[in-house]
């Protein structure tokens, strides 16, 4: 893999006619939000000020942002653990995200859980659980219910290429296909499942080829090109909304950090990271926007500064907050 990649080209951003410039700026803003949240929490983690794990999603921003941006507010989204971008797209306030991630007083999860595991039913966002694959059947069931109720919504769900090897991936996707559920599944193939390279996870060329075995469309795309992700998701969502059933999209990217911040990822070959650094979804999109006169370098820097200041402020703030009180432990086991 490392050899193949070292000599590989950096693909150009393939602009889609589905987006206007205002939307493009929004995409960048969400990607910046995600990237900066990671940068700030990584810093806090190093300073020993974080709580819980930091699953950075650096390298994934184009996937969660480009796909979530396609959805309507009524559509539902079931992100995985590197989809912070999608949370921003759905309009979850930074403070809410921070409260939940850090399990602080005021978190929707009352301290029972943390990271991105929360649900925001108003925004139709349902977080993952740790068990990889578990949310696929659940997201399919959500889509099935919409179908039964005659509501024209679509459910967008994500899984890592590692999680795609779970039994629940198979059962969920097959069930969706049989019922023609309005369901789109994006595999975020970031080359590793924790320390395990794709060669030890599966043996097919493209994971989107799994779609053939479910009788649904499948496509493998550049997951570092937010426009490409938007476009592929757009057609899959349209298809689902039209009652034509689910689709599978494999978006290729690279996990640019360790599995979580405790992991220095020394098992990842240097050249691989070098290559993918050049394919950074955020930087390339910034360049694209500048080259096309949509934003200036200065405007982007300004945006960055604002988001960074806000992120630092919110995280610092939230870190000052106490954890929820002990009594919360005894509530809501049953409703």
């Amino acid at each position: 893999m490392a050899d193949v990649v070292a000599t590989a080209e950096i693909p150009e951003i393939v602009p889609t006619s589905l987006l206007n410039d205002q939307q493009r700026v929004a995409l960048l803003r969400w990607m910046l939000h995600a990237r900066i949240f990671d940068e700030v929490t990584i810093r806090l983690y190093r300073q020993g000020k974080m709580f819980g794990s930091v699953f950075a999603q650096i390298g994934h921003e184009a996937i969660s942002v480009g796909s979530a941006a396609v959805l309507q507010p009524e559509d539902a989204i079931f992100p995985m653990h590197r989809d912070l971008g999608a949370h921003f797209v759905r309009g979850v306030p930074l403070r809410t995200i921070a409260l939940n991630h850090l399990a602080r007083q005021g978190s929707m999860m009352r301290g029972t859980d943390g990271t991105g595991h929360y649900a925001d039913p108003q925004r139709k966002l349902y977080g993952n659980i740790s068990h990889l694959g578990a949310m696929i059947p659940v997201a399919v069931g959500y889509a099935l219910a919409a179908q039964l109720k005659g509501e024209p919504i679509v459910v967008l769900n994500y899984i890592g290429e590692g999680g795609a090897q779970t039994g629940e991936f198979h059962e969920g996707l097959n069930f969706a296909a049989v019922r023609k559920a309005p369901f789109v599944l994006i595999i975020e193939n970031n080359q590793y499942a924790y320390s395990t390279p794709t060669t030890e996870e599966y043996a097919c060329k493209k994971l989107s080829d799994r779609a053939i075995g479910y009788g649904i469309p499948g496509e493998t795309i550049d997951g570092t090109d937010v426009e490409r992700v938007y476009e592929a998701t757009f057609y899959a969502v349209e298809r689902a909304r039209n009652g034509e059933g689910p689709s599978l999209i494999e978006a290729i990217c690279m996990r640019m950090r360790g599995h979580a911040e405790h992991d220095n990822a020394s098992y990842v070959p240097r050249e691989l990271l070098e290559y993918w650094k050049k394919r950074d979804p955020l930087l390339r999109y910034q360049r694209f926007l500048i080259d096309n006169g949509i934003l200036s370098e200065a405007e982007i820097q300004q945006m960055r500064r604002e988001i960074e200041a806000e992120t630092v402020r919110v995280l610092d703030d939230v870190l000052q907050l106490p954890f929820p009180p002990a009594e919360e432990a005894f509530k809501n086991v049953f409703l």
Binding site: P121, I129, P137, G141, L144, L148, F334
Partner: protein
């Protein structure tokens, strides 16, 4: 009041709830045109259509996970396991997704997972397991195990209306064997209420499911021997009606607990432990349990009868406790 078998009462509850509330729908293997392996949903697809009576692939995780997702989207799914044994293939969905959603998200997951359990018909190790204790040990899941048709109807309706995930165990040996008057229409038995199915003064048998009937048989035989035996049907394991059980023990001072599941770490242990803690001073004899021998449920009748708890074993144990 019409007379119904346990199976008919369960069908009746499902039909009643589906008529009453169009959010209720069913999913499972072979439940549509075929009406399910035990015919619980026979005629349902004709009345409610294939949208509300969904045949699924052989994918228990998709069935249970799908039910959870549909519940999150406002519906009330009742999932059938063709045999409850197959719930092991959707175990993760139950214990990790369904059981934690209220706690973590504050959102209701009003699903029911129901199906046949239990031994006694030479169905072998993979169609006879009584698995309720796994779920009783999983906070966030309710566990119901009726013994009588009227209770089955009332408890199933309560389970469907409950905002929490409920496991509903139906002993297949009782499906067509037990018959009684069942209230027509609305009939709710609240979860978490035990019932004294036979009052007595000298000994309490605490039971659920098929063992309630065996306990009644044993109580009748002991009456001939001059002992007055009370039989308590706990009906739901979670929530557990401590008050009724403790009250019984406090009156009789002697207790035998019985279930068809295997002994070790079965739910009978929990009942015994609670009594040994909170009703300790009322006890005049050791707490005994009569349960299946710790083994898979074997198929050949002599083995199966030997492995499962029997009236004889229960009778014997009751005599010992009475004589203690």
């Amino acid at each position: 009041m019409p007379t119904m078998t346990l199976l008919q009462a369960i069908s009746d509850a499902l039909r009643y709830e589906m008529r009453r509330d169009e959010r209720v729908f069913l999913l499972g293997e072979d439940i549509a045109e075929f009406g399910g392996a035990f015919k619980v949903t026979k005629g349902f697809v004709e009345e409610f259509g294939k949208q509300r009576v969904i045949n699924t692939p052989i994918s228990e995780a998709a069935i249970i996970g799908g039910a959870i997702g549909a519940a999150l989207n406002g519906l009330i799914p009742v999932a059938e396991m063709q045999f409850m044994d197959f719930i092991t293939n959707g175990f993760n969905q139950l214990v990790n997704v369904a059981a934690t959603t209220a706690y973590r998200w504050g959102l209701p997951v009003p699903i029911v997972v129901r199906g046949p359990v239990g031994g006694g018909m030479s169905a072998g190790p993979f169609h006879s397991r009584s698995a309720e204790a796994w779920f009783a040990h999983t906070p966030g899941l309710k566990v119901v195990f009726p013994a009588f048709p009227a209770d089955a109807k009332g408890l199933l309706i309560a389970a469907i209306r409950d905002p929490n995930p409920v496991l509903f165990f139906e002993h297949k040996g009782l499906y067509r064997k037990i018959r009684e008057d069942v209230p027509e229409g609305e009939h709710v038995v609240p979860l978490g209420t035990a019932r004294i199915v036979r009052p007595g003064a000298d000994l309490s048998i605490i039971a659920y499911g098929r063992m309630v009937h065996i306990a009644l048989e044993v109580a009748a035989r002991l009456e001939d021997e001059g002992a007055s035996v009370e039989v308590v049907d706990i009906r739901t394991l979670v929530p557990f009606d401590e008050a009724t059980v403790f009250d019984s023990v406090k009156r009789t001072n002697r207790v035998v607990i019985t279930h068809e599941a295997t002994l070790t770490a079965g739910f009978g242990a929990e009942i015994a432990a609670r009594i040994a803690d909170k009703a300790f001073e009322y006890l005049d004899a050791p707490i005994r349990r009569v349960a299946a021998f710790d083994a898979p449920v074997p198929m050949a009748p002599p083995l199966e009868q030997a492995m499962l708890p029997s009236a004889e074993k229960l009778l014997d144990t009751c005599r010992q406790v009475l004589e203690y």
